[in-house]
């Protein structure tokens, strides 16, 4: 009970922190909208050549693009999550301060990142998505249950995204220069989450693989729930398994890292 209130407070703080950067938010909305436009016209050209590519019709492909823009910063697929800050704290040794507090490092950052994600969804996601839905022909469900399922899939996506980035950030305990790892992870995430192209477009074995990797929980899973192309319960189960596995791995690495810090490595 008492612990719950702490992490709620941390999440609220995470939300409010990002809310203080109004100019950055407006700039982000603008960027996402422009990006979305470029991608939409690319997709439309592509779908003109190959109708029903990946099983999507044109309206679904366009919806997918705007969904991607709405979730890009929410799920920190293009960077910009908590990980830069944690890596910096590890590098400067400030992370030691976090350790003497009576709070759990992983839950703390999870709460803070969920607060951030929620702000990004509302502050940066909604406007480009609404713009896309108004200007283009999109395929949106009218059934509120589908929307609820979609939001739940996004929430799962936030946790999986956190799980991946937490592991990436913790690598800074062992690597002097974490920027290489962060950039690799960013590139991999951009590709494997379906941010460039929907994962069901990928052919053969490559397609099979990217669809079972954790990144497919981020964009592809919520998109397929919204577009009515995936069974919601099966999707939640898939995302849930990855979330639990990644959080558990994070805990293991965290305790190894903590041991290292208290020994003074």
């Amino acid at each position: 009970m008492g612990t719950g209130r702490l992490y709620v407070a941390v999440a609220v703080g995470g939300f409010r922190r990002y809310a203080t950067y109004r100019v950055a938010t407006v700039a982000g909305v603008f960027t996402n909208t422009v990006f979305g436009l470029i991608l939409v016209y690319t997709y439309l050209a592509l779908w003109e050549e190959r109708p029903q590519l990946g099983g999507y019709d044109q309206a679904q492909a366009v919806t997918y693009v705007w969904l991607g823009q709405a979730l890009l910063s929410t799920l920190a697929i293009g960077g910009g999550g908590f990980e830069d800050e944690l890596i910096e704290r590890i590098r400067t040794g400030d992370v030691a301060i976090d350790l003497y507090r009576p709070a759990d490092l992983q839950l703390w950052w999870l709460a803070s990142d969920l607060g951030r994600a929620l702000f990004q969804l509302l502050g940066r996601g909604v406007v480009p998505f609404a713009f896309g839905a108004l200007v283009f022909d999109v395929a949106l469900p009218s059934d509120p249950v589908t929307w609820a399922g979609f939001l739940l899939a996004v929430l799962f996506g936030m946790v999986v995204g956190f799980g991946i980035r937490y592991l990436v950030a913790l690598s800074a305990f062992w690597l002097m220069d974490g920027t290489g790892v962060v950039q690799m992870a960013w590139l991999l995430g951009f590709f494997c989450s379906g941010m460039l192209l929907p994962l069901n477009v990928f052919p053969g074995l490559l397609g099979e693989i990217v669809r079972v990797l954790p990144w497919s929980s981020l964009l592809q899973a919520p998109a397929d729930v919204l577009l009515g192309r995936a069974d919601p319960l099966g999707t939640f189960a898939f995302q849930g398994v990855w979330a639990v596995a990644l959080l558990a791995a994070g805990r293991l690495v965290q305790s190894a890292a903590t041991r290292r810090v208290v020994q003074g490595g």
Binding site: R5, G13, R17, L99, Y100, R101, A103, V262, Q263
Partner: protein, 323 residues
């Protein structure tokens, strides 16, 4: 070691394994003995200064006392608790301020960090409110509560950090260089507050610094550490004697003159144009010396420089080595 102290260290050691790159794929392993067979005891309610030059092992000691570093050897207890084994339990009973780091939430108003402490330490609501009120008043944080931490000056931030460390009523407060980089007024405020905290609430305070004035104004007891070893533990006056430390009188004369003829043991150590530097024992008052120079020389201006702690310790160290 008699036991019974609130903070007890018995031959505590901390050795760091440092790997240094010496060439392509070649690493050299070296051991740094940051704290070396350190023993001391601090009673409840004491206010102790912990001083020493850079790299002496002060921060390492504080980190071991909070439990975020495990000693390599020896025995360490705070309130009967082994910090590195029960870090979280101890956390509720100690407060820590690191001068060069902040525990405050950078982008958010100061008050948000305090609300977080409220939850983190599960401070009862009434207790939290009265502690906050008291800290806000004594540290003059009133106008700062709604200001984002990143907009605070260093001195304001430090006061904010000290308040954050005290909301959960810790029995002991460790401060690692709390006055570093602060202006004179901020330093004075911080010192004033710490004195009150210690006398009114009876909080045990352990303060590292390399500003001797912090110690002079606050602590009846001082411990000096160098190269991880305890060089001195006792009253400040004794430190000056032990280190035979000297203060410096800087004198500006009207014109260039031969070295001032000062009564021993005071003596001129440097002359540069009309300015002269005189060294005299730190334990001795400057007044007679000043009076004499003012009477016999065309004096324009003068100032007294406190002994440099590094110099005091260096001299102590040299004494030990030759003794």
């Amino acid at each position: 070691m008699t036991g019974g102290g609130f903070i007890e260290l018995d031959r505590v050691e901390k050795v760091f394994d440092v790997r240094k790159k010496t060439g392509f794929l070649r690493w050299e392993r070296r051991q740094v003995r940051a704290v070396d067979s350190l023993s001391f005891s601090v009673a409840r309610g004491e206010m102790v200064g912990y001083i020493g030059p850079n790299g002496a092992g002060k921060s390492t000691t504080i980190k071991m006392l909070t439990g975020i570093l495990t000693p390599s050897g020896g025995r360490l207890r705070v309130a009967g608790i082994d910090p590195s084994r029960e870090r979280t339990r101890l956390a509720h009973r100690i407060g820590v301020v690191f001068g060069q780091r902040t525990t405050l939430w950078w982008d958010l108003p100061l008050i948000d960090s305090y609300k977080l402490m409220h939850r983190m330490y599960r401070i009862p609501d009434a207790r939290y409110r009265s502690n906050l009120e008291q800290c806000v008043e004594l540290l003059q944080l009133d106008a700062l509560l709604d200001v984002p931490v990143r907009q605070l000056s260093l001195g304001q931030r430090m006061r904010g950090d000290i308040a954050a460390a005290l909301l959960h009523d810790p029995e002991v407060l460790y401060l690692d260089e709390p006055t570093i980089g602060l202006d004179v007024i901020s330093k004075a405020r911080v010192r004033e507050f710490l004195r009150e905290l210690n006398t009114e609430r009876g909080t045990t305070v352990l303060l590292t610094t390399h500003d001797l004035q912090d110690i002079e104004q606050l602590c009846s007891r001082v411990m000096v550490i160098d190269h991880g070893r305890l060089m001195y533990d006792g009253p400040l006056a004794g430190l000056h004697e032990a280190g035979e430390s000297e203060r410096t009188l800087v004198v500006d004369l009207e014109r260039e003159l031969p070295p001032i003829d000062a009564p021993a043991p005071a003596r001129v150590v440097r002359v540069e144009g009309p300015r002269q530097w005189l060294a005299f024992p730190a334990a001795q008052s400057a007044a007679p010396l000043v009076a004499r120079i003012a009477a016999e020389y065309p004096l324009v201006d003068l100032s007294v420089r406190e002994p440099d702690i590094e110099a005091v310790i260096a001299r102590m160290y040299a004494d030990r080595a030759t003794a």
